[in-house]
């Protein structure tokens, strides 16, 4: 059984403007040791998919419709907040985008980290020996993410660290409980390009060493190509193509995946030849029938607009949700 499986997940969010359909049947599986890149445009539901795995989307205003999330035998959406806390920080770690805002500015790094370590150990907060052990673990973990003199730096405040260093601290906090699954939501987007590479290398070295499954949410197809074993492409709240990274990148079968890969500049790209995709994402407030990509798709025909295309299996777990899959654009 897969470590994580998301089946036909539906999520809507109630707002003043009405009900927005954010997730429209997300299907995704992740095995131990797999690193899955979840890519797609801004607003397609990548982050909410990631947050749903830890049940961190507040409902209301969000409402889960059909679908389920299973993590190692746990029915996530059926779990209480207490049951979820037993998973968070211990079995599931999370890293977010902006390291400058994800650490509490008024508390020492050590204070925040030791609290997380204590939770991951399941220890009594007030026990002296547990406090001491949490401190030891924090120091060891900080050294592992490349923070020198960790012993002293525990007493520093977030503003005394650079952006890259702060993300290292957050990585250390997310991994201190030795989770089975790490959800990394654009972990390097807010960093300098030169620092991005360092952080990603560090993250993936640890992940491979500890055999942690990763759901990497990103815009950066280059990162996916370099680091991920699997990839899932998301469009308007649905995974439209997924599979082993090389299969999807070498043989993109959904018109949207093709367009996405076609929009990546390479060294051979000449001035003015970079291709974009016309049109814009569908309005989540409007009801929709058929394939959500149809309005922007060059291959779309009448039957595309009638029913939601089921996922077709192209072999080796390469799935694509397009009735015209394989037809060359």
């Amino acid at each position: 059984m897969a470590l994580l499986s998301i089946e036909n997940l539906h999520l809507s969010i109630q707002s003043f403007d009405g009900e927005a359909q954010i997730l429209n049947g997300v299907d995704l599986t992740l095995e131990r040791g797999e690193i899955c890149g979840l890519v797609g445009e801004t607003g397609c539901g990548k982050s909410l998919t990631g947050l749903s795995v830890s049940k961190l989307v507040s409902s209301p205003p969000a409402r889960y419709g059909q679908g389920a999330i299973h993590f190692d035998g746990h029915d996530i959406l059926g779990h209480s907040e207490n049951a979820m806390r037993a998973l968070r920080g211990r079995r599931i770690g999370m890293i977010f985008q902006d390291p400058t805002t994800n650490l509490n500015p008024l508390f020492r790094i050590g204070e925040q980290m030791i609290d997380v370590a204590l939770h991951s150990m399941g220890a009594n907060r007030w026990s002296r020996s547990a406090q001491r052990e949490a401190r030891e673990r924090s120091i060891a973990m900080l050294e592992r993410v490349g923070i020198h003199d960790a012993h002293n730096r525990l007493d520093d405040y977030p503003h005394q660290f650079s952006g890259g260093m702060r993300q290292r601290v957050l990585i250390a906090m997310a991994l201190i409980g030795r989770p089975d699954l790490l959800i990394a939501d654009e972990p390097t987007t807010a960093l300098d390009v030169s620092v991005q590479a360092q952080i990603l290398k560090l993250l993936f070295d640890i992940v491979r060493e500890d055999n942690i499954a990763v759901l990497l949410i990103t815009h950066n197809l280059g990162v996916v190509a370099r680091l991920c074993t699997h990839v899932a492409v998301m469009y308007a709240g649905r995974i439209i193509e997924r599979g082993i990274m090389a299969d999807v990148f070498n043989n993109p079968s959904h018109p949207y995946t093709k367009a996405l890969l076609g929009a990546v500049p390479t060294q051979k790209t000449r001035k003015g030849t970079l291709q974009g995709l016309g049109g814009s994402v569908p309005d989540p407030y409007l009801p929709h029938e058929g394939c959500r990509f149809a309005p922007r798709c060059a291959l779309a025909e009448a039957r595309c607009r009638e029913a939601v295309p089921p996922e077709a299996d192209l072999g080796h777990g390469h799935g694509v949700a397009c009735i015209k899959a394989g037809v060359s654009a």
């Binding site: 961190l56 037993a86 968070r88 920080g89 902006d98 500015p105 008024l106 925040q112 405040y157 503003h159």
Partner: protein, 335 residues
């Protein structure tokens, strides 16, 4: 840090020179003659003239100011024209009474307001939040003296749980004076009976006074907690499994409290200068009553004394608040 405190204390000197000048000038350009009022309607011109000479009011203003300012430094705060009592001695009695009232009120406001604001934020748009919001709106809207009267009617007249007014029963023996605040003094003397007695007298006026800061602190706390709850680090803390109570009571509370702290500092000044209504209703012998009597009779030495001491306390309180910022927020550096 030490240098910062010293520099702030040195800066107090020009502030006080300015304050004395301002208060002195204003009270002397006001129309009316305090000596004439003090001497009474039957006083002859000679009597008034000799009184004026006695109080030095025949001399030119700069000379009077110099006399007053140099007196201040030696602990001579002038003399009331009406009662002939030295202002410094009066302040020693009345100022602690008001300070006790103001501090009790602000402590009540903090102790009730901070948890109420937190509760209001974490139950936002559900019934505890609605209840707290309605109550705090009502208490901002209700005048203090009116609440004071209602409290007296209910707790003193009908239920007879608390004394109607005053600070301490005349027939009982008050604790030896150290700070002038009866609650503190009775604790220092280890006199439990005197402590409960003075607390009973303090409770109603402090409650009446705390109402408005209480409501403001609650609303501030609610708003800033809601703001902090939206911050990314709260999501990270939740995502890594920290309990809701730990997140709220440790991590969110400190963030939300720092903006509420400013309001607390301002309110202490506001309560000090606005204590007269509550003091009148509860017959509380504080500087509010003292200053009002002096203002009515244009007895400006007490007025200046009160103004200066309120100014002095206000500046010190705000220095303390500034230092507290540094304790709460490590990014605030004092150089």
């Amino acid at each position: 840090m030490i240098r910062f405190i010293i520099r702030r204390l040195v800066l107090l000197v020009p502030v006080f020179i300015g304050l004395t000048l301002l208060v002195f000038t204003i009270s002397h350009i006001l129309p009316g003659d305090p000596v004439k009022l003090a001497a009474g309607p039957q006083a002859s011109a000679e009597e008034i003239a000799s009184l004026t000479r006695e109080f030095g009011m025949d001399r030119p203003l700069p000379q009077q100011y110099w006399h007053y300012a140099s007196g201040l430094l030696q602990g001579d705060w002038g003399q009331s024209v009406l009662t002939r009592r030295p202002v410094a001695a009066d302040l020693k009695i009345y100022l602690p009474a008001t300070l006790e009232l103001v501090f009790a009120a602000i402590i009540l406001a903090i102790v009730i307001g901070i948890p109420a604001g937190l509760l209001s934020a974490i139950t936002a748009n559900r019934w505890p939040d609605y209840l707290i919001r309605i109550l705090s709106l009502a208490s901002i809207a209700m005048p203090r003296f009116f609440l004071a009267l209602v409290l007296q009617l209910v707790f003193a007249m009908s239920l007879a749980w608390l004394p109607l007014n005053g600070r301490f029963p005349i027939i009982d023996l008050p604790p030896p004076t150290v700070t002038g605040m009866l609650t503190l003094d009775s604790l220092l003397a280890g006199d439990w009976l005197a402590f409960t007695t003075s607390c009973e007298h303090l409770l109603m006026p402090a409650l009446a006074m705390s109402l408005s800061p209480l409501a403001t602190i609650t609303r501030m706390m609610r708003a800033s907690t809601l703001d902090v709850l939206q911050q990314d680090f709260v999501l990270t803390e939740r995502a890594l499994g920290l309990s809701q109570s730990l997140i709220i009571l440790k991590y969110v509370l400190r963030n939300a409290f720092s903006s509420t702290l400013t309001v607390i500092g301002l309110y202490i000044g506001w309560l000090l200068s606005g204590s007269v209504l509550v003091e009148t209703v509860f017959d509380w012998p504080g500087i509010g009553l003292y200053a009002t009597k002096a203002i009515v009779t244009q007895d400006f030495m007490p007025v200046m004394g009160v103004t200066l001491s309120i100014g002095f306390i206000f500046v010190l309180v705000n220095l303390a608040i500034d230092l507290l910022y540094g304790v709460i927020n490590p990014k605030v550096r004092y150089q």
